[in-house]
């Protein structure tokens, strides 16, 4: 292989000395294809098969490993281009600036604070998130980065969220961390107070009520 400083090292063999498979996937059984039933409509001659497919996925964080390990330790690691100084979270392992020509970025520890760039109040989501509704998903610019990252904004009534509001990073209990983005969320910065109710906030509150009611009915 050509020797070029911009290239990332690919280890020949990886030995995971610190294994946590029992905590995280010990209970996940891989079944593969399973035929779990069928429907038949004689009148229209329509036949439907219920097929279930279970798959355990891996994410090898590889060059991003420092970020994942940082989550476990309650540290936020981003990257910075040594040439142009652009800072990224989510980390980019090469600079995005065409003039920097794929310069390899350096890891930097970020301050666990930022401000809300934009946000929304979710009243519907994917299957695995339905019970958390309604929640605020905010795009936050962390510690002067050139990018914004989306994560949940908690510790606030959904209608109280604001553009530009200062937020802090709050970590999940160490035993609940998984090395993923859900190991932390945002909360309003200390001392921040929501502005008084106004027609827009009332409207959002009104839209949220049926969602609260609906979530209560979910098993």
């Amino acid at each position: 292989m050509v020797d070029d400083k911009r290239m990332h090292k690919i280890p020949d063999e990886v030995e995971y000395t610190d294994k946590h498979s029992d905590d995280f996937r010990g209970d996940v059984r891989e079944h593969g294809f399973q035929f779990v039933g069928y429907d038949w409509a004689p009148e229209e001659e329509q036949f439907k098969i219920y097929l279930h497919y279970d798959q355990l996925y891996y994410w090898k964080l590889a060059e991003l490993s420092k970020m994942g390990k940082g989550f476990l330790d309650g540290e936020l690691w981003g990257t910075k281009c040594p040439k142009c100084g652009d800072k990224f979270f989510p980390p980019r392992v090469n600079c995005w600036n065409l003039d920097c020509n794929l310069e390899k970025t350096e890891w930097i520890k970020l301050k666990p604070e930022g401000h809300v760039h934009t946000f929304t109040i979710a009243g519907w989501s994917g299957k695995s998130s339905l019970k958390r509704l309604p929640f605020v998903l905010a795009y936050v610019v962390i510690d002067g980065c050139q990018t914004a990252v989306a994560n949940e904004l908690r510790g606030i009534d959904p209608w109280d969220a604001e553009f530009g509001m200062p937020v802090k990073v709050v970590w999940a209990d160490p035993k609940d961390r998984r090395g993923t983005i859900t190991d932390f969320w945002f909360e309003p910065a200390d001392g921040w107070k929501p502005s008084p109710m106004n027609p827009e906030k009332e409207r959002i509150k009104e839209l949220c009520q049926p969602v609260y009611e609906w979530v209560k009915t979910l098993k």
């Binding site: 946000f119 979710a122 989501s125 994917g126 309604p134 914004a148 989306a150 983005i181 859900t182 969602v211």
Partner: protein, 420 residues
């Protein structure tokens, strides 16, 4: 290059959720309908097939295009599949355009479908969110309506728009869909209302992600479509009076994570600092400009030159954002542009008379092709035959625009179609 590329036929299945039709039958139906319009077209004419299909998750079948291809009897004809998120259809069309433009092929079939009714809507939303950078947003509960809502909320604030302004696109497209017998809205929920939808109906529909409500969002669908992309010579000989020219084609890209476009160097270089932020679709502006340039349309005059458009209205907000990205209005007059209903049938640029994604439906791989076929029908005066009435027929349209859109604006294509 002087060689001209044409759309010389095409058809769409009804869109539905649920619907009972296999992908191979969907495409077969579309080809049969195309042959009814273009009797001279035979399967033997096809010298390349491009398949447009987004997610193998929905069908539990890798390379499903192989199933369709030999079912059609086309063994030996070269084929490949294009997958590019919501812009899969537009990108497949773009590939066909390149294939004919290059001179390598004369008759290219573009066939697309999606079978999203194989899963529930919440599961489907999560499947689609697998097209976002799953290591970040998706795990935090993000699905596409949520990403779009965050962008729309900021756009709404910065352009002084209201929820009601977005709702205009939502009622427009659904009410036009009621004139289209193949649309999912007409064949489904319309039966419950049996009347035009109102702004109030949108405002009262359930919260999806503020400012978007249920009726601000497109439909999850099963459906298929087919387009015949040919050289001008073939079109003249076999589809005289029933073909249109692809006079402009543009394809562009933007970041996968919407949060990464606040100061992306590539955009700063092209359009200045702070563009597009999280409020506009830069890939739409750029691909639109490329298509306008190719078709000889001045950006400022685009709104006058384009007579009819089918735009990727995954959300009422995104349709509104696209008006600006396509240079039809700017920050200063977008409010008036929207409120004067200039994109309605009696406005100067009717948008989505076919119903769009909110009315016709959105089986991802079929959608962009469906949009192109609707514009093709407009420009060949086939609408009165294809729709329920002439209510959604734009008479004497000379120039049409087709827009296809993926991710959070991550890939966007635009085409300019013209009467020969």
């Amino acid at each position: 290059m002087s060689r001209k590329v044409c759309i010389a036929g095409g058809a769409t299945t009804p869109f539905g959720y649920p619907m009972h039709l296999t992908p191979e039958a969907m495409i077969a139906n579309c080809i049969v309908e195309t042959q009814q319009d273009i009797p001279d077209f035979h399967l033997r004419d096809l010298d390349l097939m491009i398949y447009s299909h987004f997610s193998v998750h929905f069908g539990k079948q890798l390379c499903p295009e192989w199933v369709v291809h030999d079912h059609l009897g086309l063994v030996g004809v070269p084929h490949f599949r294009v997958e590019n998120g919501g812009n899969t259809g537009g990108s497949a069309l773009y590939a066909a355009f390149l294939a004919v433009k290059s001179g390598l092929f004369d008759v290219v079939g573009v066939a697309g479908w999606e079978t999203m009714d194989n899963v529930t809507q919440s599961q489907g939303s999560e499947f689609i969110a697998l097209a976002s950078d799953t290591r970040y947003e998706a795990l935090a509960g993000g699905i596409y309506p949520i990403y779009y809502a965050a962008m729309a909320y900021k756009f709404m604030k910065e352009h002084n728009l209201t929820e009601e302004d977005f709702a205009l696109a939502a009622i427009k497209n659904r009410n036009y869909a009621a004139d289209n017998p193949k649309s999912q809205w007409y064949r489904g929920e319309y039966k419950k209302y049996n009347r035009d939808l109102t702004i109030d109906d949108v405002m009262q529909s359930r919260l999806i992600s503020y400012p978007l409500k249920r009726y601000d969002c497109c439909l999850m669908s099963r459906g298929g479509s087919f387009a015949l992309v040919t050289s001008e010579e073939w079109a003249k000989k076999h589809a005289d009076g029933k073909y249109v020219l692809i006079d402009g084609a543009g394809l562009s890209s933007c970041t996968i994570r919407a949060g990464d476009r606040l100061s992306f160097p590539g955009w700063t270089e092209r359009y200045g600092k702070g563009y597009p932020d999280m409020t506009e679709f830069a890939a739409c502006r750029h691909s639109g400009e490329v298509a306008y340039d190719m078709a000889g349309i001045e950006y400022k005059k685009a709104v006058k030159e384009v007579d009819v458009a089918e735009i990727h209205d995954a959300f009422s907000s995104s349709e509104t954002q696209i008006y600006k990205a396509l240079h039809w209005c700017d920050k200063d007059n977008i409010r008036e542009f929207v409120r004067e209903r200039r994109t309605f049938m009696d406005g100067d640029v009717p948008v989505n008379p076919g119903g769009g994604l909110m009315g016709f439906g959105h089986p991802v791989g079929a959608t962009g092709i469906m949009s192109a076929i609707e514009v093709y029908y407009q420009l060949t005066d086939m609408i009165p035959k294809k729709h329920r009435s002439s209510k959604t027929y734009v008479r004497d349209a000379q120039t049409g625009l087709v827009n296809s859109h993926a991710g959070t604006g991550t890939s966007i294509s635009n085409f300019i179609l013209r009467r020969p």
